[in-house]
């Protein structure tokens, strides 16, 4: 038990947690045919359930998973496994059929049902069952009320609604104008732009992964690793004072975590060159500005020459640029997280005078 706890606690360190999620994601995309087998999916579900049951023997962990606010996250983990598993299963079956020269299952009439009465009946029954479930749930579990609201005291930790915990985690690494305005805006705009940059007609009306590997894996990376995984992290691993706590740690509000963040400008001028910060703001922040400009100007060109050459040739300049910009913005989040965790980097460009920090 102690060994189990220490292994889980070790895996829950933020950098290792996100790395494990990424490795799991890569496995999911590359081995989806095996992973989406019903036996494997059931095994995963039972494994996760066992993890929660064994973990619940620990008082602190039990308190976290049974908190009214956190129950939806426990449910969400299973719901994602179920929906993702079903979609990948269907994709795996279709991809195998396509390889053998057969049409996808959806192209045959097999399994087609009528909206009325089949679908409407199922929906009706689901509505009744879910209503009953929610009523029972709301009676059985006390609403997670907190102390009366006050303009001078914030609850500790002050957590956003669970579905916004990914956004709140993003705010730890970026200035509010970026993590609260630009990136959420880009998520919405980016999702709207998908039909215009993804003109691949394959997969229209049937599930497939093989024929749309890039599109699906990019979307799922943003959804699974950068949203769902961060919601889980925000729910289970963030405790008082917004410090990291492993699942089997006691949430000690006096936990001391020595973190002294440093801006890139201080790192370059003070630590490496050994002078004091230049007075001119733009010269002071030049290293960060150069890095940001290079990231957004040179990376797309490099990718167009190697790695994503096919995309550039097929999509044309405008579509390719939009795609790469969106991908680079998405990649900026894990990059910034790793920089914060490993070298305590606060901001690449830090101009508090203009309220401009990246």
């Amino acid at each position: 038990m102690e060994l189990f706890k220490s292994i889980v606690n070790w895996c829950s360190q933020p950098a290792i947690y996100i790395s494990l999620c990424t490795v799991g994601f890569v496995l999911l995309i590359s081995r989806y045919r095996v992973l989406s087998r019903p036996s494997v999916l059931w095994g995963l579900a039972v494994g996760i359930a066992l993890f929660f049951i064994v973990g619940a023997q620990d008082e602190d962990f039990l308190k976290i998973i049974t908190k009214g606010d956190n129950m939806p996250i426990v449910i969400m983990i299973f719901a994602i496994l179920a929906t993702l598993g079903m979609a990948l299963r269907q994709a795996a079956v279709n991809d195998m059929r396509l390889e053998r020269g057969l049409p996808p299952t959806e192209a045959e009439d097999r399994g087609k049902v009528l909206v009325w009465p089949d679908l409407v009946y199922s929906e009706f029954i689901c509505t009744i069952l879910l209503s009953a479930l929610f009523i029972a749930w709301s009676v059985a579990v006390e609403a997670p009320m907190e102390e009366p609201a006050s303009g001078t005291r914030a609850p500790n930790p002050a957590k956003a609604p669970w579905y916004f915990l990914g956004l709140q985690e993003m705010l730890v690494y970026f200035d509010p104008w970026l993590a609260g305005v630009v990136f959420p805006g880009l998520i919405v705009v980016g999702l709207m732009v998908i039909p215009y940059i993804d003109t691949n007609p394959k997969g229209n009306g049937y599930y497939t992964l093989k024929e749309r590997k890039f599109a699906i894996s990019m979307f799922l990376f943003g959804f699974l690793v950068l949203w769902v995984a961060l919601v889980i992290l925000g729910t289970f691993l963030r405790g008082p004072n917004w410090n990291f706590f492993a699942p089997f740690d006691y949430w000690d509000p006096h936990k001391i975590e020595p973190l002294v963040n440093i801006n890139l400008s201080e790192l370059v001028w003070v630590k490496w060159i050994g002078t004091k910060l230049p007075d001119n703001i733009l010269i002071r922040e030049a290293p960060g500005i150069v890095i940001i400009l290079a990231y957004f100007a040179i990376t797309p060109a490099l990718l167009a020459m190697k790695g994503m050459k096919r995309f550039y040739e097929e999509m044309g300049f405008a579509r390719y640029s939009i795609l790469v910009m969106l991908l680079l913005c998405m990649a900026a989040l894990p990059i910034k997280m790793l920089l914060r965790w490993f070298i305590n980097l606060k901001y690449l460009v830090a101009i508090p005078e203009w309220f401009f920090n990246i």
């Binding site: 006050s150 930790p157 002294v260």
Partner: protein, 185 residues
């Protein structure tokens, strides 16, 4: 009666000068609509200036300078959103080796939550995104891009410490060296 009215209307319709044109009708209609919408907007603007404000005054007297021991005084956090700090030395405001008092805003400079003072760690720690500030107000951990703001502190006529929140001093603008950002007392 009805016939005269109808014939009158028919006469109006025939007379192009007295007939309201389609364009005129639309202009009048939209004009009235926009006017009404703007009057409604004025009502909204009026909400920004309430008759009575249930807020503590922007400046307050906090007691005699001698009442403040070394360190952070949390008595005015709830009532006036202010921490009053006595420090033996405050190099950040250019007062090395000079003892005195300054007043810190309790609003986190990241997204405006209210940090907690952790006496054991001698720091302010925000529960929302984990920003940390030293007792001087300097930001050193988490995402907060700039230090806590300081208020004007002065001695009132009766010898009490007067905190004036109408005047704020921001470190990143080099304002902490201002004479009234730090009270030598």
């Amino acid at each position: 009666m009805a016939t005269t009215e109808a014939s009158q209307r028919a006469a109006d319709d025939r007379n192009p000068d007295r007939r309201l044109s389609r364009r005129g009708f639309l202009l009048a209609g939209w004009g009235l609509f926009i006017l009404a919408a703007h009057v409604g907007l004025l009502g909204m603007v009026r909400f920004l200036f309430p008759n009575v404000l249930f807020e503590p005054p922007m400046s307050f007297k906090a007691g005699l300078p001698g009442d403040f021991a070394m360190g952070v005084d949390e008595r005015f956090k709830d009532s006036h959103s202010t921490w009053i700090v006595r420090s033996a030395s405050d190099p950040l405001s250019g007062r090395s080796g000079i003892e005195g008092i300054f007043a810190l805003s309790t609003t986190c400079t990241h997204l405006g939550c209210i940090p907690n003072y952790l006496a054991a760690d001698r720091k302010f720690k925000c529960p929302c995104h984990g920003s940390g500030f030293r007792e001087s107000g300097m930001n050193f951990e988490g995402p907060a891009p700039r230090p806590l703001e300081r208020w004007r502190v002065a001695i009132a006529e009766d010898g009490q410490v007067l905190v004036d929140k109408n005047q704020k001093y921001q470190w990143e603008k080099g304002q902490w060296i201002a004479p009234e950002a730090f009270l030598t007392a």
